[in-house]
Amino acid sequence: MVAIIKKQSDLVLLLCFAAAVLAGPVILQPFGAGYPDLLQKFAIFGIFAIGFNILFGLTGYLSFGHAAFLGIGSYTAVWTFKLLSMNPLPAVLLATLLGGLFAALIGFISLRRTGIYFSILTLAFAQMSYNLAYSVLTPITNGETGLQLRQADPRVLDVAFGRDYGAVLPSSDLFGIDMTGYPGFYFCAAVLILCFYISMRIFRSPFGMMLRAVKSNQNRMNYTGLNTRPYALAAFVISGMYAGLAGGLLAVTDPLAGAERMQWTASGEVVLMTILGGTGTLLGPVIGAGAIKYFENIFSAFNENILLNTFSFLPETLQHAVVSVASLFVGEGWHLTLGALFMVIVIFLPGGLMEGVRRFGVLFKRKADSDGPTETQPASAE
């Protein structure tokens, strides 16, 4: 009985999620975030964070090098565009595969260690990738400038199917639908929903339970006849594939791959997204990713003029005082807001924004009705 209810509630969750994602342009319009590029970023970094959460949220392995797979995905996708076709499908597919392949390689070595030693190993691999991509590997990565498309690229599949982009620089298109702007967002959104569904299946599977067991007690697992290493590696590879996919999508919506995508700060960003949203929850990482990207793109855009306008209802001296304080936190000060936000969240809501939602829900429920205790769900993974 419980099982059936759960299955239904998952379906509802998935449908709500899909609806919310697809309605993103409308929902986010009033917040100033309803434009294609940011929507695409929400979806793509949502995917990245969902994947990272499968590793970190379930197994507890804190990787500080996942940006490397994101970068590898982007480079793969751009190279696929250059060599094969401007269709996003092969690009995304190959990006996912290569992300997974590199994850298998790096994961195999790094998972020989646990705890912070594991974190440092992944960090080391990612930083090596970044440093080399920026300098020595420039023939492959085009270094600082980033890998770009050229008119003269071969694109053998496109040529074979008789597609000619003429004199302009081509952009990625799915059988004639241009992948920039809103169509690009809907493509990413569809992938995001799919990824969310996959992650949900993993969370609700015996495999997912095993991953949580890895986090809980590896020793017990070993003496229970379970080999922890392949479980952790599988989670690492899956999250690497998610990262590769996200990197591929970045290139699909904007065909340029830069090395700084692989820097440790980028790896740190996805950690922050996951924790901010709620580690080990299904929805949290997506929300965390959205929050950080929103800050980065919207808060940084406030400048003194906008502030002066906002506070123009105040008397002039007060207006200037308020603006000078506020401008510490927006525009060039948006990092400050972000840092303060991390602290506030961790101090007061260790479970991330999802815990806030949950607490709010509990509060609301208590007020609304008191129809007996709700059943404790056996799966704590939410």
Binding site: K6, D10, L15, L22, E144, L169, G258, N297
Partner: protein
Amino acid sequence: MANFTKVSRRSLLRGAAAATTALAAPTIFTSKAWAAGYTNEPKGSTVTLGFNVPQTGAYADEGADELRAYQLAVEHINGEGDGGMLNTFSSKALTGAGVNGKKVVFVTGDTQTKSDAARASAKRMIEKDGAVMITGGSSSGVAIAVQGLCQDAGVIFMAGLTHSNDTTGKDKRANGFRHFFNTEMTGAALAPVLKNNFGTERNAYHLTADYTWGWSQEGSIKKYTEQLGWNTAAAVRTPLGAGDFSQYITPVLNSGADTLVLNHYGRDMVNSLTQAVQFGLRDKQVNGKDFAIVVPLYSRLMAQGAGENVKGIFGSTNWHWSLQDEGSKAFVKSFGQKYGFPPSQAAHTTYCQALLYADAAQRAGTFRPSGVGKSLEGFKFDGLGNGPTEYRAEDHQCFKDVLVVKGKENPSSKFDVLEVVEVTPRAQVEYPASLLGGELGPYNDGA
């Protein structure tokens, strides 16, 4: 997910309805509101420009100075303030009544000096804020990345501080324009000054930031100094952001080289120069000659960070506030009065770019990228602080005199760190457009 278990059927239906609206949304939004026009064609009484500058990261101060200059430029174009260089500008199309009858407004973004972030903020300004032109930036990687984006989106890009050849060479685009000079010009301008000061028999040791701009700079200096008869002892690549460069500097000490060329910019330049001086290179004698240090690309803002270490060290710069032509004086005056200190070269080039764009749009009578571009192509002007200048049609690169500067021995204030040694005339730094390769391609006006 306890709170989702109780979602009612009704809310589910609501969700479905929202989803339908969303699916319909793309047709609303992409119904080519600008059909037959061009990207972000201004319809109202204002025209929006996008200022994309580094507000966080190592170049944040430079970015802040750029932003100040842009604000000043907007004021002047809209007829506020003292008019600055509009009064000295050879083209008199702008009258202080905005552009094409529209008042200029602006939006800002943070490039973070990262290609991804720069493109994201440029996209926001294009897609959300309706910017018809993007300008700014403080590094070549970002400039090239944003230039490519603007080409695809169908808006004009007026590059900020970008010194790599590639911006108007290998990676040039029809929609992109650069006022700043490049490594090729630096090489051509510096070489004769180096010859006069250090002779033709020098053994040069290069330390080069290990990325595209560094290599470009190293290549140009090598090319022109070797033409003078200099020998290149070694060219060593250093990681970007190395911090401590001592491990690259000590090999110079006993290498037999008598000249050190630091192909670094920003913090790398500050650190490598400070440390080179610390290792006694400025006071050293090799082969009976005084050891020389050269910093090909100077930035006054950054030179302040190196303090007294810049004294006597040669380099090139796009512009300096101590210039005495009417344009420069007018600009320094209005900038200094507004902010209390003199503008940097980054501020100057971005101010010029904003003015040049506005002027071109005014002369073209439209903001359509191809229209503005055509009126910029081959445009000859004067009065913007660099003497007679031309926007070359073949590669959208400005050609003008190049300043060779030297760290000042007795600065009168903390802004007064460089002195102009020579103004290398434009003819000497000009090169054929074909030299650097690349294709402009056609203008893109957007859909």
